[in-house]
Symmetry: none
Subunit: 224 residues, 4 copies
């Protein structure tokens, strides 16, 4: 390094040193950096929103140089898309677990609702990105096929189809519309929970909301 204007390189060492400790653990050096960037991106996107988030913020939060992000992702857009793919995969895994664990369609649907909201509760930032930012940019909704979300809908619809086949569920409802409606409801509840300010009065209790959403979608609102 030339002396000229030894701009402070040193500012980033601290973080990097920390990162390098990881080398002790068995299997992460290459993938570790990608993952750290994704983690950082979730935090920053959740806090600032996609458009207001600066790549340099993400880099700083990840403890890497700005340019490093571009070694792993083509662009800021690409970073968001990869985030979705990665995290949606977890949502889908959740879903599959629900389906596999339970045998009756009704139990499956109740469990899906519960697990989804638990996931939201336990991964606030991730939920924020998925609920808020996924929808945000028509760019990502339209120009990007979003296969993981399609899988989400398909899985739910599949459970409904099966329930209809066995006679457990009634047949008048289109499974695909149901899946959309359920996701919309879950997402809106999640959003309500996310958005509520710390000091807000009208707090939504996610476990209770899960209970109620299960009741509502299974039994409807009508008195009997």
């Amino acid at each position: 390094m030339n002396n000229h204007s030894a701009r402070s390189r040193s500012k980033s060492n601290g973080k990097r040193a920390v990162a390098k400790k990881k080398d002790a653990s068995p299997a992460s050096p290459p993938e570790g950096k990608r993952e750290r960037i994704l983690e950082a991106a979730i935090k920053v996107f959740a806090a600032e929103g996609f458009y207001n988030a600066k790549v340099s913020q993400i880099a700083q939060a990840a403890g890497v140089a700005d340019g490093t992000i571009y070694l792993y992702f083509k662009s800021k857009d690409d970073l968001l898309i990869n985030l979705f793919e990665d995290r949606m995969e977890r949502v889908n895994a959740n879903l599959r677990e629900a389906i596999e664990t339970e045998t009756s369609a009704i139990a499956q649907l109740r469990r899906i609702v519960r697990l989804h909201l638990e996931l939201v509760e336990q991964n606030r930032d991730m939920a924020e990105v998925i609920s808020v930012e996924l929808r945000q940019s028509s760019k990502f909704i339209r120009e990007y096929a979003n296969p993981k979300f399609a899988e989400f809908l398909r899985t739910i619809a599949g459970a409904v189809v099966e329930g209809q086949r066995t006679g457990e569920l009634r047949t008048g409802i289109d499974p695909y519309i149901f899946a959309r409606a359920l996701f919309g409801a879950l997402d809106e509840i999640a959003l309500a929970w996310l958005v509520k300010q710390p000091g807000s009065k009208a707090t939504i209790e996610l476990p209770r909301a899960a209970e109620q959403l299960g009741d509502l979608f299974i039994d409807g609102l009508k008195a009997r």
Copy 2:
């Protein structure tokens, strides 16, 4: 100062008050200009998304100079917020009509669903802005109370409360959670319809979806 470090959202009142002074004069050409700008903004926001929309595009679409927009709205953010307020008011009027027209709670809810999706079908751009951009505006929501949306939820919840009082609806469901869930489902269905590319296969028929959504929320999915 430029807005580039725009931390502060909202604060939209002052200028609008000024704009509204014109309401005093009978044949309101200036108010016509405000309206033209809002119309243009809907089109442009729907087509480009809020962040990708350029103020000059909106100005051009409205047939005014760029600077003129700032005579009616404090900022681009403020324009979006005003858009919501204005258009949400229509959604709420829709809602009130449904409530007033029908007497039974169930009929009210079915009508709400139907009217909402009809509104979407007939005002595609406006629906796009509300469904897609409102979400993104949860960023806004944090700093901006969004009273019109609150009113939306309150109206639905009110209908449910009334239905529960008369015994027409069962009491286990929290009216506020129901309102959220219903809005989420409606919004998601609207989005699915909006997003479907011209050549897409899985077309959603909005009237049919309204029917099904009504059934689902009233009677549930369970076979009887």
Copy 3:
């Protein structure tokens, strides 16, 4: 000096104030700004080279804001191309004058040589840009047809054709190859003159070089 610490952008006000004084003079406000940017670009490109020139340098030299340049030119590339077109037009005007003034082909060619080198001498920066930067970027040579330069060649070739028709010039030489060769020689002499450091020994005298170049191209090097 490096621009390393170029933190302070704001220092540009002084210049702008100066620029605005111009408004007093009769006929320049709109075109004046474009011209000022071109003038500034010539200076900066000549001093730094196209690739090393910063748009902000040009803006500063022109006494306008960075963004203003983009109101008149699509990009930095576009600015260079416009510069060529504009200035080459002067070169061509020069040429046409030579052709029109003189009647014999030989006198025309001698005059072209003389005028061209005089132009170089009197417009050092412009010559630099044309000689050095025109060639520089294959981008501009290949992807851009350069009609003004084509015109230059055509004009010279035309004079030769005419001289050959009248029998004043011999016919063995292809007029287009001649035009190229003459331009190359002129350009190289210009470059030699431009590049010579202030304190260099081997100074080229442009008027003398013009004389010699005329002799060379008309009579050749062979003794008779």
Copy 4:
């Protein structure tokens, strides 16, 4: 420090000396690497232009790692300068051959022209770099003496001086100006040939151009 504010060109000697140590060992694989990098650089500079060429492209084309280039060359600038030195040496060898082979000055000059254009035809990429980038490198020339090009001029001028001494060539023409003019003409013709797109109509035939250029510089354009 990064080179971004790279004011200082040249300074290219140190490292190269190191590289040349390897000449001691008989089967020079490391020197082979230097040569491979130069070959690759020619291709890439010719195809992209100096400023648009990326060091990593060159590294890839040479089959070495990016960092390896910096073991042989101090910087990207240094690489270009070394390229000139190396390849210009061939041009000069060409020249000397012409001088030595022929005895009369006129024959020497004709042969120089012919050999030069043959060289261009047979080493297209190298010609491109020299013709196009050398010009741009007049930027370099200012800080870098370009001794090989100086040698080129000196050789030609020497031949002229000798011809003038013997009375074969007339004495009115300054040998140095002649050398410049000849080089300029050759270079321009080379450029015209290089730039002509594959499908272009006005194709220049290099052998024919050589013939004509010889005639022109020896006998002039005037009819006799």
